[in-house]
Subunit: 408 residues, 2 copies
């Protein structure tokens, strides 16, 4: 292993120390197979003796991956056989990508560049028989909200706008449901802007939309400059391939948001995101897996990739001098299952398509096994939240009566 250690003490441009592209591949390269097997068991949440199946993807897809230089990985989550239901196996794909041309280019050119970059990746998903495909948050544009410049609002589109039309063709061609997270312009409400996921049915029809429920105000992500908390509740979309929902980006930090999609019956919840390493990388492998466990559904997590440099420098509320980028989007898209297992992640530093088969029967099987719904005591929490939302809420605190006698 000696020769592989060169330069590993340098922090690299993608924010990692070793310049590796994924934790899973780093460990696979460095550990002997039996140790790697045990480490994988613990990290991927596999019970003893269980292996995560890798999918055999068609040559038409792998050749697109080689030709266009995107990471391509495929896995399969299994469920137990049931006697009264057939397996309900759905193939799901997630795309992570960097922007295509510099942010100094014209907006039409920038958007067209992303369309052209995505085309072969979407085609690889189609060629692989993907049933439901999800793109990353605000995929038509750079994540320019850090700049606070209003000119980026031009990228906002109506739900039936250019990007939807672009994807509707693929939906029809590949009989594929596509989730398209965009910046939405709501003309009917005086040009209001929202952060929205458009749900395109497998016939190219628009099934509906969901607007981001929780908006961050942290570091470079004060997105409330551009859009506010969504007004679409927690819809679950009943598609040809199962019941799905979309928890957009910062909503993943809110267990109640995950819970609500579960209560409404979601079997797969997509989390299209845009987040950078210094801010959130330690949380990335935790929150989605917890949501999958607690709510007995699959979670599909996407993060964009790369470092985006903007024309005008900006400050970030952290005392640092002005600068033109806000860190490395670390990709690492992956799937989590209700049995606490997960797939390895896509690369931290390149475009990618991750595909997984998932038997939706696993959701109900885990509900039956663990009984989280049955034991949840929602009435307690309904009452607590009712009281908590009152300005004069009194927390349930039991004070040590000897506290005032403390010498210290």
């Amino acid at each position: 292993m000696g020769s592989e250690n060169r330069g590993e003490s340098e922090k690299t441009s993608d924010g990692s120390i070793c310049g590796h592209d994924s934790l899973h591949r780093l460990l696979r390269a460095k550990l002997v197979p039996q140790v790697f097997q045990e480490v994988s068991r613990l990290l991927l949440g596999l019970n003893c003796g269980k292996a995560l199946e890798e999918l055999a993807l068609p040559e038409s897809a792998t050749s697109l991956s080689s030709k266009h230089g995107f990471d391509l990985q495929g896995f399969s989550f299994e469920a137990d056989k049931e006697q009264l239901r057939e397996p309900r196996i759905v193939r799901v794909g997630l795309i992570q990508n960097s922007i295509a041309v510099p942010t100094t280019a014209g907006f039409a050119e920038q958007r067209q560049g992303i369309f052209e970059k995505l085309q072969p990746i979407v085609e690889a998903a189609g060629a692989s028989g993907v049933n439901i495909l999800c793109l990353q948050e605000a995929w038509t544009m750079p994540f320019a909200f850090c700049t606070r410049e209003k000119r980026w609002c031009e990228f906002a589109e109506t739900v039936d706008g250019e990007s939807t039309k672009f994807l509707q063709e693929f939906a029809r061609r590949f009989n594929m449901v596509i989730i398209s997270p965009i910046l939405e312009r709501d003309v009917a409400h005086g040009e209001t802007i929202w952060n929205t996921a458009v749900i395109i049915g497998n016939h190219g029809n628009i099934i509906g939309k969901h607007r981001k429920n929780h908006i961050p105000r942290v570091g470079d992500f004060n997105e409330s400059t551009y859009y506010m908390e969504g007004n679409t509740g927690h819809p679950v979309f009943e598609t040809a391939y199962g019941k799905i929902a979309v928890n957009i980006c910062y909503g993943r930090h809110h267990p109640l948001n995950w819970l609500a999609f579960g209560l409404n019956g979601a079997e797969i919840v997509f989390n299209p995101s845009a987040t950078v390493g210094e801010l959130s990388e330690p949380m990335w492998p935790i929150e989605a897996r917890n949501a999958a466990i607690a709510n007995s559904y699959y979670v599909a997590s996407i993060n964009r990739v790369g470092t985006e440099v903007f024309p005008s420098p900006f400050t970030s509320g952290d005392g640092r001098p002005q600068h033109a980028d806000f860190g490395h989007f670390y990709g690492s898209s992956y799937f989590s299952a209700p049995d606490a297992s997960c797939t390895p992640s896509l690369a931290r530093n390149m475009d990618g398509l991750i595909i997984s088969d998932m038997d939706l029967n696993l959701c109900r099987q885990l509900k039956d096994k663990w009984g989280f719904r049955m034991t949840a005591r929602y009435d307690l929490y309904h009452d607590l939240l009712r009281r908590y939302t009152q300005p004069d809420f009194e927390p349930q605190v039991v004070s040590d009566p000897l506290l005032h006698k403390e010498a210290s």
Copy 2:
């Protein structure tokens, strides 16, 4: 590394493939330092350049650890300096242990054996200056609930019973708050049995109690044979060393339970548990860390250790023949912080004491940074839970209108 591979393909008695005692130590032994540093950064949730400090523990503690053969580890979580508040550093200890004598022994002997086994570990905590110490769930007894035999109810004690008296002495001697999770006998309510944590103040006084809110009915853990859902709400105990709460065992699978302790103001939530590898090991590193992140508090997770063999064989509702044990309690007690970092875990296969300093100021700092409370929209969820608790609840589902036209 070749010689270390012998026998690694055998599954060992502690349920691991390699027979290692902790993931962290396994990786440290197998990886070169720079790779281990990067892997630790990702697994322990450390931001670039940040290291987890190890505590220098006194010789009086380390010698007790060597003499009595328990794992001893110490760490420190740091917070930023503030201008208007002093640091509020608390030293917290967690004890995990196996039972002391076989379950065939008399009950008095079994309990006395545990008292004697715990004494040097509690003394090591005291010698280390621990301010708040927590023991494992139902620490006075084997976790006999899998047997469904009612005779184990004899281990139930009143809140001011033998085990409390045993610990009150240590509380006074070491000026230490002690959390004592026991099987409680509620004489005032007709000998009702509860799964309860007793909170002993640093003067040896009893501050209060909390009864387990969520009771499992899964595999060998149908504990509702012995006790039902608690009736103490979600109390936070204001002690000499900060505001603490106790989420007992299975409650860790319920995000609403974690949330409620947070809404009531907890700064450290303890999760004394008893759980086995085949059932829950993949979830163990996820749920506590998610709770710490989502609720901006510290979490202290304890699991008991070892394999407990019972006198009468029993079945487990899984089609297997009767057997006398229900798997390996994998220990692995650890701490999680609100900034998404965590400590390594105690061993999977031996008694242990893990200690960490934690600056409680970090909780509010993370609330200010991420704003999860501010952006949580509790009113939405109060309303959803109110509707969900009604028998005629209608989920928010948007169906694809073309669904009935599906040929497939």
